[in-house]
Amino acid sequence: MEYVALTVGFIVIMAGLWAIMTRKNIIRIIIGFSIFDTGLHIVMVALAYVKGRTAPILDNTVALDDAVNLIVDPVPQALVLTAIVIGLGVTALMLIFAMKLHREKKTLDIRSFKDLKW
Amino acid sequence: MSEEKNINKFENPDYAKREVTGPDGEVFIVDPIKDYFSDERPQVYLPNSIPVVEKFLNWARAESLWVLGFGTGCGSIEIPPLMTPRFDAFRFGVQSRPTPRQSNVFIISGYLAVKTLKRVIRSYEQMPNPKYVLALGSCTINGGMYFDSYNTINRLDQYMPVDVYVAGCMPRPEALLAGFNKLKELIKDGKGEKANEYAENFDWYKANQKKIIKDWNMPDYNW
């Protein structure tokens, strides 16, 4: 069971990649990126999970002096937080780009933005 | 249209004065007749002052007659047989040369149109002194059957000095050979000085030539 989360994470990553690589609508591609990021986050958290332990929140249920053995690894979780923030920033920026692209050509089809090539 | 322009018939456009721009932008006039042709008059070349030497040289000149291969009229067909076994003019030191510079004898072979006369004069003047003229056929003597033609001359000696006339219409090669021998005699006697005669009476000859050659278009003397 402990690999379920990991597997799910990879499936989500693959789904995101699939969206990025096959969808033609820019908004969908951006959604693909979000999914991709989400998958990554799931994988990160899943990797930090140790069977039988609890979330790394130091409250009443976790004894402070034995916390190291009771909670899962907190570092990936911290990393996930950071990653989420960054992902948000990236998504926002991409949306801005999408907006500007639409303003330019009145379309969101990625295939129509090929002014730069070769 | 440029063709419509009335061109001066007597002037060769190639010899007209023209304005030329040099490579450094200098503009100047080129007058071809003056710039491209020598305008010196012919000179009289005196025979060698030592009579014996002159006699020897005359003998050499007489025995080495180099003929300019220029057929002016119908008589030119009589010249090639001269070199055949039948007549063999080589025996007499007669050879044909393709260029006037290396020839001594000019055979005027028959009638001379005005147009041809111009070329004949040019070639004659290009031959080196001493030079001899052998006129062939009655046309050169009095115009022959073309005496009343508007474009054939009547008497050659009005335009250039003639050493020997060979009469007939046409004279056969034998007559021509006789003419050569007559010419040889003249030269050996020191009478082959017609080139000097031409130089001495140059103005008279020129006046006659220019009277009928209206589009002169060449220097007065062609070196």
Binding site: - | E3, E4, F10, V114, D148, N154, R155, I212, D215
Partner: protein
Amino acid sequence: MKDLITKLSKAFELKDVVYQRSDMTFATANKENLISLITHMRDNEGFSHFVMLTCTDWIEDNVFQLTYILNNPTDKHDLAVRCMIDREEATMTSAHHLWKHIATYQRELKEMYGIEFPGSPRLNENFILEGWDDIPPMRRDFDTKQFSADTFFPRERPETNDPTEYMKKQLHPKDWTEQKAK
């Protein structure tokens, strides 16, 4: 051919038609119709070859007769069109646009008869004569003998003999005197 001539006679006012030979016909057109006639002949009647252009000086009638000879190579037929032009004002429409080589004939006629062909290429350049400044030499009012006498320093000619008589006299003087005596 006769049909053709008949047909053309109307349109181009042909006169003096002469059927010279079975394959040669002469006709006279007037100056105005001539060019359109030969153009028509060339374009529609198969006279694709221009043989020659020549001139005759009818000084008595005060005209030049220009003769344009055309040839139909398929029918092997010649048509010669005459055209009379005034001698005093000898000008004819140029036909060099129909056949290029007509220009050369016209140059010759200009030089030899003084006939003008306005527009013909190189018309005024020398053709055969160089530097000719007298009246054109082929005109019959040009006295070539006089010209020669004036220009070419004629030699005084000795008395002339009938060659037959002269040779008889030289070779058989006896016979000759006998004959003379008779």
